[in-house]
Amino acid sequence: MNEGGRSVQPDTDAEPAAVSARCLGLRLAGVRVELDPAGGLVWAEEKLLVVADLHFEKGSAAAVRGLFLPPYDTGITLGLIEGLVARHKPERVIALGDSFHDRRAEERLAPADAVRIQRLTGACDWTWIAGNHDPEPPRELGGRSLSELAIGPLVFRHAPARGGCAGEVAGHLHPAAKVVVRGRSVRRRAFASDGRQLVMPALGAFTGGLNVLDPAFRGLFPGQAFHAWMLGEDRVHPVRGADLRGD
């Protein structure tokens, strides 16, 4: 019911103390990473920030079909990334694919938004991982493009490998989780992980979530260690797999 209640205001509180209170640590394939409630994953040791499924220009893609969603989604998603960058000051950023909603999304970008993307990609080592929505890299927005990227024990790709893969950080599925407390249900985007591999929540302002109990996730997290790390207003709430509800 309560789909994606997070703030859509640009997130700019960059106090270091606030960072540690907001984020939640998680050991993933032996590596310590931080989960930010804005939906980013941070590997502090590597000064790396990972974001997934930005779906830039999803709004204007609908407008082409005559459904005039507000044209602000790209700007809002950029605000979230800028907030994450300001808080964590990464040297590398990986966008895990489906960064652009369709092949013509780049053409439809507002000039101001294109400039913001260029500023982000120019300020650090930026990697666009190819996704099914954006198999080809953007032409004029900077950054480099890869189909996947391995760093230490972790491998970053768009869609999770069939059957799962240790150390994999992927997107594509837009995980969301639902809990029911005293008759009220709360549904939020979430990181899905069993400590062995992880699926990132989608960051795009108009991207919905798929319940982690959906068959699409089947086989990825077979054990008891599976948790949904649900995104709250300013905290990440880890919830045991057994406590989650389907839609």
Binding site: M1, N2, E3, G4, G5, V8, Q9, L24, G25, R27, K58, S60, A62, A63, V64, G66, L67, F68, L69, P70, P71, Y72, D73, I76, A110, L173, H174, V179, V180, V181, R182, G183, R184, S185, V186, R188, A202, A205, F206, T207, G208, G209, L210, N211, H227, M230, G232, E233, R235, H237, P238, V239, R240, D243, R245, G246, D247
Partner: protein
Amino acid sequence: MALVHIMFSAMLTQLADKAPTAPADLLPPAFAAWFARRGWAPRPHQLELLAKGNARRSALLIAPTGAGKTLAGFLPSLVALAARGKVPPGSASRGIHTLYISPLKALAVDIARNLDAPVAEMKLPVTVETRTGDTPAHKRQRQKLKPPDILLTTPEQLALLIAQPDAERFFSDLDTVILDELHALVTSKRGDLLSLGLARLRAIAPQHRAVGLSATVSDPLALAEWLVPQVAGCEVRADLVTVAGGAKPEIRILESEERIPWSGHSARYALPEVYAAIAASRMAIVFVNTRSQAELVFAELWNLNELGLPIALHHGSLDAGQRRKVEAAMGAGRLRAVVATSTLDLGIDWGDVDLVVHVGAPKGASRLAQRIGRANHRMDEPSQAILVPANRFEVLECRSALDANYLGAQDTPPLRRGGLDVLAQHVLGRAVAGPFVADAFFAEVRSAWPYRELEREAFERTVEFVANGGYALRSYERFAKIRQTVDGSYRLTHPRFAQQYRLNVGTIIEAPLLKVRLGGNRGRPGAPLRGGRVLGEVEEYFAEMLAPGDTFLFGGEVLRYETIRENEMLVTRARDEAPKVPSYAGGKFPLSTYLAAGVRAMLADPAEWHRLPAQVQEWLTLQKQVSALPGRDNLLIETFPRADRFYMVAYPFEGRLAHQTLGMLLTRRLERARMRPLGFLATDYCVAVWGLGDMGRLFSTGGLDPGALFDPDMLGDDLEAWLDETWLMKRSFRACALIAGLVERRHPGQEKSGRQVTVSTDLVYDVLRSHEPDHILMRATRADAAEGLLDVARLGEMLARVSGRIVHKRLERISPLAVPIMLELGRERVDGESADVLLSEVADELMREAAGE
């Protein structure tokens, strides 16, 4: 021919009536002979409508159930068509003569069937056809080529018909539009859509007149205005024809030997007595307020059914085929009782009902009158009705409703101001029909009553929205759906948008539904479930509350929830006697202002208590001793500790919706006063807030004046802020977005596309709120929330009324009057706790683990 029989049987006794205002010779000989053959005489209002027809006047007929409204509405058309005769062979076919619009498809079909009798028996050269969502494409096509004389349809079909490019030809001969059950149509967005459709129809076919048929309403003059084109600065209305009520109904409140429960809605305690009343009558309708109540009452009546009486169940969630069967059995007199929800409220005739039992409080005086009218469709015999209060507060409410019914008081809701989302849909429909010029179209829209005060600016922004989204950031101009051309007219840019319009027309937004399918594992536990028969549908939110293994009542059976598969809920039959989830999701109808005042007056006046059952009198007496009684014009609040919490209960009696808003606002204020409120619960009568801080102490020591807590200024900033972030707003926004065409309806077969593909309107809402809070859809959403959903105006009136008259009682323990809501607290879903608080509750244990890592 049950309808005709019932409609006319009443006339037998009408012969000796007062002289009709219109002369009987208005009736052509063939009709007079037909009436005479049946031993009937036309009733005065039927003749009066005939006279209005001859004078080409639009008319509104207001009559109680059973007055022969429908025939009165059709008589002028039948007479005119009889005089017109057949189309000479070889000449072109004529267009529609009479268009009949009803809120229910089933009603249109029923009326078509019942018009057959007079048409066949008088051998009238009249063709009658229906057109609904179920009408096959080939029949629609034929109707376009060869229109019937009388077409019976729904508001949505009218919207589609006027958006056809050949609408002008189709309606060129239109003489009369008949609007049935108008009182039910005008209070919703369907009424807005209909009013715009009628305005268009008047532009296409200016020669036609309108006839409205309505049950008794509180403001008949406004309804008469609604029916005809409005002119700024003038009062224009249709002629009003009013039929006085028939014999006074005989209503009584069930006086049970049993103990009346404090809370709950099943009225189980009284059902043996209800069963006895059913057994003593010919055929009874047992009305309830919600589906789950219907299930409970039905199941319980069958438990008691020693005589094996044929008792059936009828509610909107049951499979349509099942419902038709029940209706047919009722019409044929094969049933002794039907347990029904509001699906039986509207005018379809059900045969020979002689008793109406109303389980639970009726919530409104007019609703009660209409439901009671279902019994005995003969105006001249008194209807028999029994009210069965389900709990003690409902005793007061029933008493007050009963008084109102004797006084003939009406509390139907006021007519609505037209929604901008509905206007947006109509604008696209107008463009689909052909190019339009803004000035003329604006004037046409303003001639519709709900839009008579529409401002040019709002109109233009709505047109902009339809054209390109109407955002401040004008980036969608190149994708425009309609565009102004050099001659100044607006035109559709691509025919595919016409198709999009047709697929999304209408204003009915159904709650997302899941099919309930009986699954089986053929007696092998653990084997995968196989899908069986579909039993009906439930709202998605209901399924959300269930965990696998939970049992609940549906269609009179106890079912076990197994799993959800796509858009289906798989269930198995359970052996349990008692379902685990009783689920009462709150009635759809809030307590009407009129009844609320009645209840307050009764509480405040112990001299009147002798009319109440002894148990209720004792309850109130005890309340008076240990605390105080709510007065007519004050507000009683009580505070008391219980377990490790502190409670505050306020008794405004303004209905659940108003109380929900109040609870939310109080919680915010108490938070600021550091009372650490944890949640609240609202009922129709009162609202309870609880928290960790001692509110009673705070009030008594002057830390916070309760007057300040309930100051009407809470409706200012607090309300605005809260409104914007509440899920109620999101729900209204979803409806507005669908109606206005911002997102598309999901059609059957599309469910598999998955949630991540469609854009959630909640996300769109968040974006609009932060970036363009004055967007036309946000305006539409706020208007909805303020008008219908939240009863804010009512809350404002209450706060102003009790200002300076707040009575605070600081108690050691719970008061008698607080018992019902405290009992509800144990089993109802609790509103008002923030999602993050709930989340951290689930997460806490893990947080502790995480901290210790």
